[in-house]
Amino acid sequence: MLRSVKGVICQGPKLDSGYFLHASARAWLSAAVNQDVQIPAEKPRTVFRTSESNPANHAEQHEGQHYSIPLQEVKVVFPHGLPYRFQMQMKTFNESCLMVRKPALELLGYLKSTNFAHPAIRYVIYGEKGTGKTMTLCHAVHYCAKQDWLVLHIPDAHLWVKNCRELMQSSYNKERFDQPLEASTWLKNFKTSNDHFLKEIKTQQTYMWSKRESTEKGRPLGEVVEQGLTRVKNASDAVGVVLKELKKQCPLGSFRLLVAVDGINALWGRTTLRKKDKSAVSPEELTLVHNLRKMVVNDWNGGAIVTTLSQTGSLFKPRSAYLPHELLGKEGFDTLDPFIPIQVSNYSQREFESCYQYYLDRKWLQHERASTEEGRKELLFLSNSNPWQLERISAYL
């Protein structure tokens, strides 16, 4: 139960908290579980922060505490993964702090003990609206990125089934539809996060993009991505190629693959897109969705698939739906079955306290009553310990 105190902390302004930890680490070795009870009230900073910035070392003692990710890492690991409000908060506070919570620790435990010879296990993170599913996913992604896995992170599958401005008929398969804009954005972000892998992985097949352009067998995968970015018309097909190659080559064992999909219920729901003759497009008819569905099936090994259900962006689903079989539908549930469900719920007492202290520390809660006990009880009541709600309320204060 030694808390590994990293004396050299990456963030500059947090040095004093780090030194404090270093000095009194011995006092906490004895009882690391109920830390907030033992720590005196004059130093609340230490309750909600931990200096452990490597998710691999997060354990139960860090539960409820915030760990921060250096901004440089954020740009590389999360070019497109974090929720919008969290990004705004990052910009305001000039740091990105994630809370270590039990579901995330559970998930990390499973990931640490994966057997790469077995088919990829699917994890489905579900929960009520605003409880922290996307943040749990981001925690897992950060862990895998630190462990040098290849991260295939689709920030929100719902974006692919709605509000598409350009819907072109696919050149590869006449029945399917392409989405060049979404595909190219995703490819760009994919490139930022996994640059070094793209140089190492080689294609195992020749791909013809058009009469004059083709990618030979044995070329690095980065070329396929470049092709998709330059020729936007072929972007969706480039995405399909990338997914196919990764799926084929992952079992060979040269790299580990993490498929992280947020809002996976979009793949089996309905779309709001329409064809030229005003008839509805079903998800199978979209190239991106079709390829992603193949990716999520567990017929490959050497990695893991972590997905989130999301009602927020979903189409034609009632607001109160949050269980897997409600949001996925029969088809989706059958495809994803068997999976390991991980439920995320509202903050516990300790987590709420930690979040509240964090906001106070960053001077986010400006109202004079917010720092009093009554203000805390009021916030607790009004948000009912729901993280999303609490964040929205604190934004007003």
């Binding site: 009880k377 009021e378 009541f381």
Partner: protein
């Protein structure tokens, strides 16, 4: 001798108009009820009361006004919305307005010395009050001369009562007053009350004071009930607009609230509604102490929140002291909101909105 009279008569005949002179009703004033008439009405009322008691099968001797009202409502059911338009049977003194008897005698000289002021009872009242004031001052001088002033201070207790309002004073005097008159009267009474020895005239002054009904006594506070585990709970009901809510507040809780089986965060996504729910608990500083389970039906989201608020405040009354109940009442948490949707009127688009006015 007959000739000039005949001429005069014929002259008079010519000047009278042929049209019948109509009686000018308005100039006579409101109809005056004679004393005999009122007495007649009272006898008829009493007889009618006994008949009614017989009809209803009750004892005529112990037939009160409330019984009469109930009987009338039973015998003459009315669908009219205006309560004052429904059939009513009351004592004639309540129905016929109080009128003054003729103020002058057979020789047409008025009885009262202030008759020609126009407001004789008002001025006589002022005169009387001032007389009393002078009496008190004389008494005070008397005591001061004896040196007993310090011990004999008698003040009138004015707490829990208020001065009569202008309408009530008008009823008492059977005379119209202006606002200025009323304010001068009240000022004189206030001046009388400030004197140290005004206790002598206490009963006279109290004639002009009206007791304020203490509303708290009307509310019945239920005692706590205990369920199987021994946890104390209490129920309350509340209404607002068209919503009705029942709330059960449990002790030893953690601030969990369930509405119609759903968590309150899901049922009321709007923060305004949740603030309404929070109000009674926060006012009593009991936010994380109680659990609540409520059911609500009807109305919209805002009215449902208001109904639950009232229900929870009423339920909380069982857990707190009397003073705190008084605080709740003063804060307005125990008052049901009387506002309802106003009816749409014909000729208008809505309750208040008129149709667009076109000049031509």
């Amino acid at each position: 001798m007959g000739c000039p009279c005949v001429v005069l008569n014929t002259l008079r005949l010519i000047y009278t108009t042929t049209a019948v002179q109509k009686r000018n009703v308005a100039a006579l004033g409101p109809e005056k009820y004679t004393e005999a008439f009122i007495k007649n009405q009272i006898e008829e009322f009493n007889l009618g009361k006994r008949h009614l008691a017989n009809m209803m099968g009750e004892d005529p001797e112990t037939f009160t006004q409330e019984d009469i009202d109930k009987a009338i409502v039973y015998l003459f059911p009315s669908g009219l919305f205006e309560k004052r338009a429904r059939p009513v049977m009351k004592h004639p003194t309540e129905i016929f307005p109080k009128q003054r008897a003729i103020q002058w005698g057979e020789d047409h000289r008025p009885f009262h010395f202030l008759f020609y002021t126009g407001k004789q009872s008002f001025y006589s009242l002022m005169h009387e009050i001032y007389g009393k004031l002078l009496d008190i001052q004389k008494y005070q001088d008397h005591l001061r001369a004896q040196g007993l002033l310090a011990e004999n201070r008698k003040q009138i207790n004015l707490i829990g009562s208020r001065w009569l309002i202008k309408e009530e004073l008008e009823d008492m005097l059977v005379e119209k007053l202006t606002d200025h008159d009323y304010s001068t009267c009240i000022q004189l009474l206030e001046r009388l009350v400030t004197l140290p020895c005004c206790g002598i005239e206490e009963e006279y002054v109290l004639k002009f004071r009206k007791e304020l009904a203490i509303q708290l006594k009307k509310m019945v506070i239920e005692s706590l009930q205990y369920d199987e585990q021994g946890v104390a709970f209490s129920t309350g009901e509340g209404k607002r607009k068209t919503s009705q809510a029942t709330a059960v507040v449990y002790d030893n809780g953690s601030g969990k609230i369930t509405v119609n089986g759903v968590d309150y965060l899901c049922y009321f996504p709007v923060m305004q509604d949740r603030e309404q729910l929070m109000f009674p608990f926060q006012f009593l500083d009991r936010l994380g102490i109680h659990d609540m389970v409520c059911t609500v039906s009807g109305g919209g989201r805002s009215s449902q929140a208001g109904a639950i608020r009232l229900a929870s405040a009423r339920a909380l009354c069982s857990f707190i002291t009397e003073n705190e109940v008084e605080f709740l009442r003063q804060a307005g948490l125990l008052t049901p909101d009387p506002r309802i949707r106003e009816r749409k009127k014909p000729g208008q688009e809505g309750a208040r909105r008129k149709f667009t006015w076109k000049k031509r």
